[in-house]
Symmetry: C2
Subunit: 142 residues, 2 copies
């Protein structure tokens, strides 16, 4: 991956220059290539990004487990990458994927299964598209 | 905003408990409510999140400028929030918006105007949907 350059080059150039943050990560948004639904937001370190590009399947870096993570390695619910996009300042990546099974470890298709509602000075969540596609207890048991 | 609770409550409950990172931020993905295109990835601190919910227009926190930022305050290109979603662990937010003008400060509708291509061991970017909707020099001049 290339040496950092000026802002104009980063925003208007065609050199791939991902800007990793202090923790060595870029943010990645995965959307469903068919429905366009946002499936998840996660992070990639340099290795995850490299493996994603090389394999055509999504790899991430888990901040909580502090480890590289091939999406679906336990559940089988892999993400086949249809297209990858880079944002203007090269610190965020959007991948359009074919999601097998479900993206969320809770068993839902998307991690975004709750709407934020507000009213009378109070903010609450409510379930939307929250049907479980799989039973996480069965899939993640050791 | 409520006191942090157990994982099950955070993932399966309906209490709004955004989990801000060490810098006091959550990640926010904005998509176009009509086309479903990903427009941008940005961050919200507690105040930006509160103002977004209260006003129905997107507010963010700029890490580079270290300041709260009403989307469109300079350009007029505001984002009217159609729906807000919270993710499983409550550290990322997805907003579906009606984008006036363009989301990207470079003048494009979306910040994701370059595709990541790879081949022959080389990764490059190429422009996709990269037409400028406005001239940033004219919009942001002081």
């Amino acid at each position: 991956m290339s040496t950092p350059s000026g802002i104009n080059d980063i925003e208007e150039g065609l050199a791939f220059q991902p800007k990793f943050d202090a923790a060595g990560l870029v943010t990645c948004v995965a959307t469903d290539a068919t429905t366009s639904e946002v499936l998840m937001v996660a992070h990639m370190n340099e290795e995850a990004l490299r493996k994603t590009i090389a394999s055509g399947e999504a790899w991430y870096y888990s901040r909580s487990r502090k480890s590289l993570w091939r999406k679906g390695e336990t559940s089988g619910h892999v993400q086949r990458v249809v297209e990858m996009r880079m944002d203007c300042d090269q610190d965020a990546i959007w991948i359009r994927v074919e999601q097998s099974g479900a993206a969320c470890h809770t068993g839902r298709r998307s991690c975004f299964y709750r709407r934020i509602d507000s009213g009378e000075g109070r903010t609450r969540l409510s379930f939307v598209d929250a049907d479980k596609v799989f039973d996480p207890k069965a899939v993640y048991r050791k």
